[in-house]
Symmetry: C2
Subunit: 228 residues, 2 copies
């Protein structure tokens, strides 16, 4: 029996959530779009395999990764029995584009326009999104999608996009600022307005201490449909 790891790699470009897909260079399903994946080697853990595979594609290290439930339908891969363990990763889309590895013909797709994927990769993506919505409502993980410095309007757009909701600017700002997660910078981002929006950065200490704590950003009613 083989065990594989598949990476669902999320990015956010300021407007849309994207996932990174590759075009398979080998049979079966050559040329079809697929998640980046690979077999687990005899001397590595699943986490190590996932890191290795993500690094192969993106060149990135130290990326947020989260193991999902295994996919184990006996016939999910028509050639042989492969149990797949998907990993959700969140990356800063800008960091990636600097380190791109073109061997895999990778491309970002908006999550609203995902092509048909091989095997059960489509289900994996759907589940990954559900889980992202669930988890992001309780824990401040979405910061992983942003660059070091970001603005409050960017942050808000990111949350609004994930749940397809409108949030109140004032309430959102208050909640985030009172969370102690943010550190205000002195400079502004003027790319999207004339006035400019102040940059913020993560309070790293506080962030790592609180990643596993419950710290809801959106309200319960917004996530009820997205439960794990």
């Amino acid at each position: 029996m083989l065990v594989a790891v598949d990476c669902i790699i999320f990015g956010f470009d300021g407007t849309d959530y994207k996932i990174l897909l590759i075009q398979r260079g080998f049979a079966p399903e050559k040329e079809k779009w697929s998640l980046m994946g690979g077999f687990v080697q005899m001397d590595e853990t699943l986490d190590e395999a996932a890191k290795r595979i993500l690094n192969q594609l993106t060149g990135l290290h130290d990326v947020y990764m989260d193991q999902m439930s295994a996919f184990s339908q006996p016939l999910r891969d028509p050639i042989e029995r492969v149990i797949a363990v998907p990993y959700v990763s969140l990356i800063d889309i800008e960091k990636y584009s600097k380190q791109i590895n073109n061997d895999f013909h990778a491309k970002w797709f908006s999550i609203r326009e995902i092509p048909k994927l091989i095997f059960d990769h489509g289900d994996m993506v759907e589940l990954a999104l559900q889980q992202l919505r669930y988890k992001a409502a309780l824990h401040p993980i979405l910061f992983e999608l942003l660059p070091e410095k970001f603005t409050l309007p960017q942050l808000q757009t990111m949350y609004e996009g994930l749940y397809d909701i409108k949030l109140d600017k004032r309430n959102f700002t208050r909640k985030l600022l009172s969370s102690n997660l943010l550190h205000k910078e002195n400079d502004k981002d003027k790319s999207s307005s004339k006035k400019g929006a102040y940059y913020y950065s993560l309070n790293e200490d506080f962030y790592t201490r609180n990643l596993s704590n419950i710290l809801p950003i959106v309200s319960k009613s917004d996530i009820s449909l997205a439960a794990e």
Copy 2:
């Protein structure tokens, strides 16, 4: 590479949380205490394997089961490479004792007195408990541990035991009753007091609809230490 499933089976006896362990009848680690487990067959999914293995030991069907993250240290099993996928199950301890299968020398252990387990099973149990605490704080899953009819004091003891906290009886009652999860029966349980406590049963419809929704029973501060 082999893939195995291990079952962490929780029960609650009215006072303590217990897990069901077996005494291994074969090498390696013969006679040592261990989780009930088994290899995944070529024609079954992981969920099916977990159900099969749980049924072998307990005789039970339709049990709450939840897949955890895989354990994949290359040397976790000294004989050969086995990736283990643990499953948390919650069962009504009374139902089990009626259907006990003695082939496996199974025994309930209080979670405060768990013996040394083989391989990394001890870590699995610890992680399972953490996850149970996390999940039970957000979703009404602990009912799976109780018989059809139960009392509010029982329920409260169960929550208090899991988090090692004291809850206010009035606030707890109010929260549970306002949740719509419970249906009051006409009879009382007189086994633990002279006055007797009314039995309640689950509103099944509402329960299944809301299992995946967020419905906190204990407060955030109680679960912060137990995050996934």
